[in-house]
């Protein structure tokens, strides 16, 4: 997969959808293309995070440690991004991600991503917009859940 295909793919990631293609190309160029074999861990729950991963090919399982063992909570595939929270704020990984099939990912390193945000405010605004969308979405859901909870009481 070439740089320009990676750019196409990045545009499908909601977080980057509004960013100009030229900047996405720079982001792609400064990121690493990494392969994982099936079963290999990309990161583990509790690790400190230093990169986000965009899946270019293959699928990955998102797993959470519980007292009763590891539970698969979701699956990530083509064009989805995992670990993006870690590159925006200092939190340790909230889940484990493991390759379910041979996996081809683009590793976006935290400091490079932050550097991009500093140099190109238009990207920052786009990312902020997406995050605000998510927040309002979450708030809505929370309000809905609360009212449902109250109603059921």
């Amino acid at each position: 997969m070439l740089l320009k295909d990676e750019v196409e793919l990045l545009r499908r990631v909601p977080l980057f959808a509004g960013v100009a293609p030229a900047k996405l190309k720079l982001l792609a160029f400064t990121s690493d293309r990494v392969n994982y074999a099936a079963g290999e861990e990309i990161f583990h729950q509790g690790d400190s995070g230093d990169a986000a991963y965009v899946i270019l090919n293959g699928t990955a399982d998102i797993l959470v440690d519980t007292p009763s063992g590891e539970i698969k909570v979701a699956e990530a595939e083509y064009s989805s991004i995992v670990g993006e929270i870690a590159i925006l704020c200092e939190v340790s990984r909230t889940a484990t991600v493991r390759a379910a099939s041979p996996l081809d990912v683009l590793r976006i390193k935290k400091d490079q991503f932050l550097k991009l945000l500093i140099d190109f405010p238009e990207i920052t605004i786009e990312v902020m917009r997406v995050l605000a969308d998510r927040l309002s979405h979450t708030t809505q859901e929370l309000t809905l859940a609360r009212s449902q909870l109250k109603a059921s009481e």
């Binding site: 320009k4 190309k25 720079l26 792609a28 160029f29 990494v34 392969n35 400091d111 550097k115």
Partner: protein
């Protein structure tokens, strides 16, 4: 050492001085004969005196002695010769005398030179010997470079002076006195005038030279300080850069140089002034002769014949006199230099040479306790480091010393290590004072390690075994030629008062490392390296270093086997694509285009770096295959991509690090170039444009840069060009390129590159580390680990060990003490820079190693981390220079507040 140079020279060379004086006196005989001979030749055969009658003969070389009481004794009657024969005979004698005089001169000069060099060698050695015996506190006050400049430069003129020290004044003084005597013989009063003038010269000139001596001393001191400052700049270069003080250093150096210039200029002014006065005084005497003598002669009060005789006798006086005065100047000069140096080396408390005398027998084991008795220590400023502490460490006991930094424990360890000498009280082994024990006992049976590690220039192995080199135990084996040289070395060393230890012998004391045979020594090294966790560092060093396959053909062969097996092992580990190997006839996608094209390592200047673009053969292949066109098109696309990606980033942006094929400064140039090249192809581009553009494609790696430029066709084209390039490689370039050959070990590549024989894929997370651990595992399983580690031990540590990291230095510092089997180990915070986990592991493994094979040495370990105290039999707690707790760990935990604070 003697305070006067002449006394020093006399003491060490009196026999030679007397001998050379005798030879000089002997050499005077042919010298004076050769003066008389020309007159004889001119008067006799040439002008014909005594040959007035044709056919007349004269006696050639009659030798007779006029002896008192005996009368004349005829030793040789002489041969009657005619005029022509006489001319040839006398000329031949003249020739013989010339040769004899020349030979005498050669012999005398060589002899004097040798005498001087031997004395120089002796004094240099004596100075260094003194440095080795200085008391430790002396080293807090002296600068290494200043001492080095004293030993090397300041002493140097002494050698030249030695040969002339006694011969010159005797010879010149004799000549001057003879000349004076002759003048006195001619006319007493005129002679007296000459003598008076000589006396004035002898009184005035040395007085005037006193200032020269003062200046000379200053010159010496300032030059020495300059040497010290230059070495400070070299040692402190990191600090200078860090604080931007380079201009302060420039100012200081310029100021010093200015001072040195002023001193030297003053020196010249005085020197030539003195010379002028000296010459003037010397010329004053003939003036007096002409003026007063002439006046008296004209008045008829002096016989003209006498005056002429005095004037002609006088011409022999100024020469020797001037030389004598010059000699005196040199004498005073070197005397000053000598005194300056000797003062610096005369220090109170220099160790007795007996303490460092080489031991002929292995020193006995220390079976008595090591103790400090009422020991007080102070630092250089006089502050108390330790106050009246009495402790005893019994053989076989392990003791932890804890306390805050500078609480006193470190000072106690320093005292046991003989780094600080007691202010009062004493340090003893049994009843013997530690400082009076020979170093062959205290420096072997006790091993001291501090956090300040010094390493000597050389390999890791040299430094690791440094603590075992007490004596040349096994002499080196020499062939006949070298043996002769060695014997000469020994004889010379003795003549100059130097020891004749053989530096080429085997100095490593294997028995100190408790090894019977030298070939088991490596196992001992391995054990120690493992204990301090240095082995993996050394393995890395080995993998990154290169090895000459001609030196270790067996190992090179095993490495090739390893290379061939690597693919299988990687596949088994599930890391099949981790390394993309080089295959002849295939394009390696993880390597650059340039590497793929050259497919080898450039070993000569013709094909390395940018020179390859100028190589006629390389260019002809590029053109004939049409590759230059392809690469030009590729390069143009790379440039276009780079400009698109980076043109609106500031030049210092960190993203430029990703741009491996150009720098931020190049970017605008390429932008302009692309504009110019629009609509023009390879054929229309200028030579510079072609070079700059093609250069970009040389560094391109598809999986890394992902511009999508390397199609299958292009790769095939490059491989084809490679084939043609290799096939037609002209004879003169064969030595400049070592092509990748799967079956051959390459001496120009690192060990790791030789094993991998390919490039690590960019697509694997943490690929380099994974491959390293896989390769290490393979080396171990194939029994090659030791051999490779041995290559790592050849790593050159640089001056002061600066090529190692500080962690590696600390580990090596501990390792070189551990390899010695001592009765006491004094470890003074040996691992301060290491993190706690690593410290913990190393302390445990070191204690375990020491007790291996039933050994039970005593250990005094000043811990950086008090939590490791439970590992020891006994714990000492220090606070403010006093011992505030001493006992087993659990006792102290219960009843010692200071200790509880330290471990909490």
């Amino acid at each position: 050492m003697e305070s006067r140079l002449t006394r020093y020279i006399w003491k060490h060379t009196k026999r030679q001085q007397l001998y050379i004086l005798l030879v000089v006196a002997l050499s005077m005989v042919p010298y004076f004969l050769s003066f008389d001979l020309p007159k004889q030749i001119v008067n006799g055969p040439i002008q014909g005196k005594g040959f007035e009658d044709p056919g007349a003969t004269q006696l050639f070389m009659p030798i007779s002695l006029d002896l008192p009481y005996f009368g004349t004794v005829q030793l040789f009657e002489g041969i009657p010769l005619d005029r022509m024969h006489m001319l040839f005979a006398l000329s031949m004698v003249f020739l013989v005398l010339v040769v004899v005089n020349g030979l005498f001169k050669l012999y005398i000069n060589t002899y004097k030179g040798r005498l001087g060099e031997r004395l120089l060698r002796r004094i240099r050695f004596e100075l260094v010997d003194r440095i080795l015996r200085f008391p430790p506190q002396q080293f807090k006050r002296i600068k290494g470079a200043e001492v080095a400049s004293m030993v090397k430069d300041e002493i140097e003129p002494l050698g030249g002076f030695t040969g002339d020290a006694f011969v010159q004044p005797a010879l010149l003084g004799g000549q001057a006195l003879t000349a004076l005597f002759f003048i006195l013989m001619q006319n007493f009063w005129l002679g007296l005038i000459a003598a008076l003038m000589v006396a004035i010269q002898a009184l005035v000139i040395p007085r005037m030279r006193r200032k020269l001596l003062v200046l000379g001393r200053e010159r010496q001191l300032t030059a020495r300080e300059l040497a010290g400052r230059v070495s400070e700049i070299v040692d402190g270069i990191g600090t200078i850069h860090a604080y931007d003080t380079s201009n302060y250093e420039r100012a200081d150096i310029a100021h010093r140089l200015g001072r040195i210039f002023k001193i030297r200029y003053d020196l010249y002014q005085w020197k030539f002034m003195v010379k002028f006065i000296n010459n003037f005084l010397a010329q004053l005497t003939p003036f007096l002769f002409y003026c007063i003598g002439g006046y008296l002669a004209l008045k008829g009060k002096l016989d003209i014949g006498q005056l002429v005789a005095v004037i002609s006798a006088y011409k022999d006086l100024p020469g020797p006199l001037k030389d004598l005065i010059d000699w005196d100047q040199i004498r005073q000069d070197v005397q000053v230099k000598y005194v300056q140096v000797v003062e610096q080396f005369t220090v109170d408390g220099v160790m007795d040479p007996k303490i460092q005398a080489p031991a002929t027998e292995p020193p006995p084991r220390l079976t008595h306790p090591l103790s400090a008795i009422n020991l007080s220590l102070v630092d250089d400023s006089g502050a108390k480091l330790l106050e009246r502490v009495s402790v005893q460490i019994n053989p076989g006991e392990t003791v932890a010393v804890v306390g805050r930094t500078a609480a006193g424990g470190d000072a106690l360890a320093d005292a046991f290590g003989r780094i600080i000498w007691p202010e009062s009280g004493r340090v003893a082994v049994g009843s013997d004072d530690l400082l009076e024990l020979p170093e062959s006992v205290s420096g072997r049976r006790i091993s001291y390690v501090s956090s300040e590690a010094y390493f000597f220039y050389g390999s890791l192995r040299d430094n690791l075994t440094y603590g075992l080199k007490h004596m040349a135990l096994r002499p080196a084996t020499y062939d006949d030629v070298r043996m002769k040289e060695r014997r000469w070395e020994i004889a010379e060393a003795r003549l100059a008062g130097n020891p004749d230890y053989d530096i080429n012998g085997d100095w490593i004391d294997y028995s100190s490392a408790n090894v019977k045979e030298p070939d088991q020594f490596f196992d001992a090294i391995l054990e120690v390296l493992d204990a301090v966790q240095l082995s993996s560092d050394i393995l890395d060093l080995a993998l990154r270093s290169s090895m000459d396959p001609a030196r270790r053909p067996d190992l090179a062969e095993r490495m090739i086997e390893l290379r061939q097996a690597l693919g299988g092992v990687l596949a088994a580990e599930g890391a099949g694509g981790l390394v993309v190997p080089f295959e002849p006839g295939r394009y390696n996608t993880e390597a650059t285009v340039g590497e793929n094209l050259l497919f080898g390592t450039a070993t000569g200047p013709e094909l390395s770096g940018t020179a390859i673009a100028d190589n006629a053969y390389f260019r002809s292949v590029m053109t004939s295959t049409g590759l230059s066109n392809t690469l030009f098109e590729m390069g143009r696309e790379i440039a276009a991509n780079a400009v698109e990606l980076f043109s609106d980033l500031p030049p210092d942006h960190p993203f430029f690090q990703q741009l491996t094929f150009m720098t931020a400064d190049d970017l605008p140039n390429y932008q302009v170039m692309l504009q110019k090249l629009k609509g023009r192809g390879f054929a229309e581009a200028t030579r510079e444009e072609r070079l700059s553009i093609i250069r970009l494609s040389f560094l391109y790696i598809e999986p890394r840069h992902r511009f999508g430029l390397l199609t299958q066709e292009r790769m095939a084209e490059i491989v084809e060009a490679r084939r043609q390039f290799h096939e037609g490689l002209p004879e003169e370039l064969r030595g400049a390129l070592e092509t990748y050959d799967p079956a051959r070990y390459s001496g120009s590549a690192t060990l790791l590159d030789n094993i991998l024989f390919g490039r690590i894929s960019h697509r694997h997370p943490d690929g380099a580390n994974r491959i390293r651990s896989i390769v290490a595992g393979m080396l171990k399983s194939r029994g090659l680990y030791d051999d490779v580690l041995e290559i790592g031990l050849e790593f050159d540590v640089g001056p002061g060990g600066r090529r190692l990291t500080s962690t590696q230095r600390q580990k090596l510092n501990l390792a070189r003490a551990l390899i010695r089997h001592s009765d006491y180990y004094i470890l003074n915070r040996p691992l301060p820079g290491l993190d706690h986990r690593l410290q913990d592991e190393i302390v445990r493994s070191v204690l375990k190693l020491m007790e291996k094979d039933g050994r039970k040495p005593a250990v005094l370990w000043v811990l950086s981390n008090a939590n490791l105290a439970p590992l020891f039999d006994r714990v000492m707690v220090f606070e403010r220079g006093m011992l505030v707790g001493d006992g087993a760990h659990h006792e102290l935990r219960e009843n010692n507040d200071t200790f509880r604070q330290l471990v909490s």
